[in-house]
Homo-oligomer: 310 residues x 4
Amino acid sequence: MPASYAYLGPEGTFTEAALRTLPEAATRELIPYVSVQSALDAVRGGEAEAAFVPIENSVEGGITTTLDELVAGAPLMIYREVLLSITFALLVRPGTKLSEIKTVSAHPAAQPQVRNWLKKHLPDAHWESAASNADAARLVQEGQYDAAFAGEFAAALYGLEALETGIHDAENAQTRFVLVGRPARPAAPTGADKTSVVLWQRDDHPGGLRDLLGEFATRGINLMLLQSRPTGAGIGNYCFCIDAEGHISDRRVAEALMGLKRICLEVRFLGSYPRADATEGEVRPPLRGTSDDEFMAASDWVARCQDGRF
Amino acid sequence: MPASYAYLGPEGTFTEAALRTLPEAATRELIPYVSVQSALDAVRGGEAEAAFVPIENSVEGGITTTLDELVAGAPLMIYREVLLSITFALLVRPGTKLSEIKTVSAHPAAQPQVRNWLKKHLPDAHWESAASNADAARLVQEGQYDAAFAGEFAAALYGLEALETGIHDAENAQTRFVLVGRPARPAAPTGADKTSVVLWQRDDHPGGLRDLLGEFATRGINLMLLQSRPTGAGIGNYCFCIDAEGHISDRRVAEALMGLKRICLEVRFLGSYPRADATEGEVRPPLRGTSDDEFMAASDWVARCQDGRF
Amino acid sequence: MPASYAYLGPEGTFTEAALRTLPEAATRELIPYVSVQSALDAVRGGEAEAAFVPIENSVEGGITTTLDELVAGAPLMIYREVLLSITFALLVRPGTKLSEIKTVSAHPAAQPQVRNWLKKHLPDAHWESAASNADAARLVQEGQYDAAFAGEFAAALYGLEALETGIHDAENAQTRFVLVGRPARPAAPTGADKTSVVLWQRDDHPGGLRDLLGEFATRGINLMLLQSRPTGAGIGNYCFCIDAEGHISDRRVAEALMGLKRICLEVRFLGSYPRADATEGEVRPPLRGTSDDEFMAASDWVARCQDGRF
Amino acid sequence: MPASYAYLGPEGTFTEAALRTLPEAATRELIPYVSVQSALDAVRGGEAEAAFVPIENSVEGGITTTLDELVAGAPLMIYREVLLSITFALLVRPGTKLSEIKTVSAHPAAQPQVRNWLKKHLPDAHWESAASNADAARLVQEGQYDAAFAGEFAAALYGLEALETGIHDAENAQTRFVLVGRPARPAAPTGADKTSVVLWQRDDHPGGLRDLLGEFATRGINLMLLQSRPTGAGIGNYCFCIDAEGHISDRRVAEALMGLKRICLEVRFLGSYPRADATEGEVRPPLRGTSDDEFMAASDWVARCQDGRF
C-alpha cells in the first residue's frame, strides 16, 4: 500500500489546508492532482492509499463531480471527513498597497464570499477568474494580476503577503472534504458518526421516495444530506446520495440499510465515519426505542419467543 | 404432562365438534369445562395439556372473554386454530312433528342464524334462551322444550333426532377456535401461518397507532384481526390484539416484532401457527423485498459492508 | 317531534342516573326500554326524540350491541356523551344487618367491581345474577335475595337502604353513555369535541389499515377509540368504529374525513359532540400546522397561487 | 408588457433552438443574455416578458444556477417547459476534411456526449473548451480551431458546414428548458401537467423529509424531480426543489400544497404548466381516490354531514 494521499490540487488551496488538519496526513506523502477524477482514479488504480477531495459546500451544496465519481465506477469508501471554514486573505506581492490594486483574481467559487468586500474596498478593481485560488496566487507572483483571494496559508507558498485576512461575506461558509479509499472495514463507531449511501429506486410510483426515506425514519435515523444525481438514463432518472446519522455497526443503521437493500434496485455503501461537526451539544442520543441496547433486547425477546421461553 | 385437552363445554357443542377435527384430539382425553376462564386455568395450573376455546366468530367478532384471558395472567400460547362453519339442526325428541313444536331453545348467539328460518317455518314458536345449545338439547330431552337448535352432532348425545339440518340465515357464518397451551417452541412454519400478538402503546399521541401498524406494513405484512381491548386503566385505555400473516421464524415477521418490542410499552407474543383457511389460492407470496431470501441477502450485504468486503 | 328520550331501562340503573346528569333530560319524558335495540328503534321509528344508551366501559371496552346498532340500519347520530364513574351501593331491606346477608345479586357486569369487597366482607354470601342491577334491587324488595349491588340512587326507588356505598374494586371504572338521535346539524364546536365514524376498508392489503389511520395522523388528529366490528361477511371481515379528537367543523377533521371518504369503501359519520372528559388540562391544542387558522392561511395561499398573486 | 423573451445566449445554442420550438416565440423578439441570472433579472426588472433558460439535463441533473435563481429573489413563475434531445454536429469551415482536423472545441458539458465519437474518429485531435458551443463555432469561423461540436442549426449562423450530424454517445441525452415569467394565473390544466415548488423544512428531525414527501404520497401524487439546494445557512442546510405530477387546480395537488404550507417553514410556488413529455402512454390517470371527482364527492359528503343531511 503506497503511503501517499492524492488530493485535489494545486498546492496552496483550501483542500490542501483541510487535508493537513488530519493527523495521519503528517505521515503520508501528499500528492496534488489536477482533478477530483484523477485523484480518485489514483486510488482506484492503486497509486495512492487515499484521496482527499471536497464533497459539499455551503454555497454549492453537494459537489457533483465528487458525488458522481463516488456513485459510479469501482466502489470507493469514505474514511474521514473534514469541515473547513472558508475565509479569504487578499494576497499581494510584498509592498503592494491597497490603492495600487487594479486587478484581482480567484476561482469563481470565491466570488460569493468576497463580492461585498470588493464592492466596499476595491470598487474599481477588475476581476479575472482563475482555475484555482492557488493559481490566482501564482499569477500574482508572476505579475499577471495585482492581488489574489486565497487562503492565508497560500501566501508563503507563493512569496506573497496578506494585505487583509478573514474576508467572508457569508457567515457559516464551510466546505466539507472527505478522505476516500478502497473498501475496507469502517473505523469503529465513535458515538457521533455518519453513514453515506447511494440509492437507486426500483420503480417510480407515488410514495416511492417517501418509502425509501421511511426506512430511515422508522428507525429514528436523521438525514443530513439528500442529493439527487442523474443516473444517465434520461431526464427524471435520479439516484440519491444520502448522509445519515449513525454508524453501520449501530443496529438501527444496519437494519435501515437492510430495509433499503430489500426495496431498492441498488444500494451503494459509501462508508461510516466520524462526524466532523461532532461536539457535545450537537450529537443527539438515539430516539427512544432505537438504541443498540433496545435493539438487542428486542432481538433477544424474539429469540426467546421463537424458542418458547417467554 | 397430562394427556388431556380442556374445552369449553358442555359436550355436544360446536366447540367439541371443532376440537374433534384435530387429529391429535383422538389421542387425548377431552374434558369439558364450564367457562373459557376455567378451561384456560386448567392449562395454567397444569391440569390440562391444552385448552380449546372459541376466539372469534363472524357475528360477534373477537370473543372478548377469550381475548381478555389471553391478554392477562400467566402467558399462554396458541398452537392451532380451527375454523368451523356454523349451521344448525332442529333437534326434537324422536317422533315430534314440526307442527307440534310450541317452544324452541338455543344459546342466544344462535338467534341471528335461525331467525329467518323460524319466521318462515315456526312463526308462532316461543323462544327460550339456554346457557348453551347443548343445554337446550338436554332440556328438550328432559321434556322442558319441544325443540332445540344445535349442531347435528348433538342429536345422538341427547337421544334426539334432527327434523331439519343445514339451517343458517347467514352465509359465511363461522367460528374460529384455538388450541391454547403453555409457552413452547412454535410449530415449524408451513408457508401459510398466522402470528398473534397483543400490543400496549407506550403513550398516546397523534399517529401512535399508525406507527405501530407501520411496523407491519413496512415489512409487507398483512393484518387479519385487529381487536382493541380495555386495559382496565379507564375509558379510552386499550391494548390491541392483532393477528398477522406469517410465522415468527419468517424474517419479516421477526423484524416487525422486534420493531414493535422497541416502540411499545409491552408486547405479548401469543404464538405462530398454521392458518386454518390456508388453501392454494388464499396464501399470497411475500411482497417483493420481504421474502426470507431477500432478508438474508440484505443481511449478508450489510455484513460484507461492515467488513469492508464489497 | 316527541319530547321524549328513550333509554336502556329499567329505572334505577346507571344508565338512567347518567341520563339525568344532562340538563335537557329535565324537560323530556324519560322512557325505559328493554334493550339498546328497542331504544334505538324508537328513535328510528319516530317514537322518541333521542335514545340514551351505554357505548363503552372501562371493563368491557366498546359495547358491541350499541356499536352494531349504530353501524347498521338507518343512520343515527350521537349528540352528546356522558361519563359516569361506577361505584356500587349494597342495598338491603331496611333493618337488614350485614351479618344477616346470605344471598347477593346484581348484573354480571358488576362482579369485577365488587368481587374483592365481597371476599372481604361477605365471603360466604351466595351470588345470583340478575338481568340488571335494578332488577336485583327489585328482587331484594320482593324478598327473593337479601342484598343487591346497584347504584345508590336505586335505593329510594325500591324502598331499600344502602348498607354500604362507594364500593369499587377498580379505580377508574367508568361507563360512557351517548345520546343518539336522527341526523341533524351537529352542535357547534366547544373546543373540546369528539368525532365518531365507522370505516369500511376498500380492500385488504398490507398497510391498508395503516393508511386509513394515516388520514388522521397526517392532520395531527388523535384517536380515542378504535373498535373493530365484524361486517357479517365472514371471519376476518371488519369495519372500524373510531372516535377522534376534534369536531367536523374543524378544518383538520373535515379534511381527514374527506381523505377517508376517498379511500374507504364506505364511511359512516356518527356525529361530532362535546367531550365529556374535557377539562382544562386534558384538551391539547392542535399540533403545529393543524389549527383552523393555519388551514385557512394555507388555503388562502393556494388560492393566491392559483390566481397568480404571490 | 414588452413583447420580448430573454434567453441564455449566445445565438446558435441549444437554448435558442429549444426556444424556437415554442409557437409563441415566433411573435416575440428573442434577446440573448450572457447568463441565466441576467436573463431572469431582465424579467424581474420588466425589460423582458419572460426568460427561457435550461433547468435540468440528463447529465448534470438540476441546473443549479437556474434553480438558485428561482429559489431566491423576487418570485418568478414557470409558464412552459421544453424538452430537447441533445445531439451534436461536427461543424467545420466549408471544405475542411475530417483528416485535417487537429483541434476541436465545445462547451465542457458537450464532452460526455462526444467523447466516444472523438476517440473513434479523431483520436489525436486536441480539445479546447469554449464558453458555449456557439462560441466554439464562432472561433472555428474565425479560424482559431478546426472544428466545433454544436447543434446543427448553428452551422448557418456561423457560415460553417456539418461534417457529421447526430453525434451522441448517450442515448436519452436531453435538456429541459423553462419559460419563466412574473407571477400570473397559471395556464389551464391540460390533463398532463407538472407543478414546481420549493420547500424549506421547519426543523430537522428524523422523518421530517419523509413527512414532507408524505403530503404528496397521501394524495397519490408522483414526484418527477427532487433536488436539494443549500440555503446558505451553512453545511447541511437545504431547501428542496420539487416537480410533482399534476396542476395546482387539481384538487389533490391543491390539498397537498396546503398540507406543505402548513408544515413547512416556507413554500415557494414556481408554477403549474403542461408537461413536455406528455404522450398518451406516459400520463397516468389519478390513483383511485385522488381524482377531482372523488375529491368533490368527498367534499360534498362532508358538507352534508356538517349540515346533518346524510
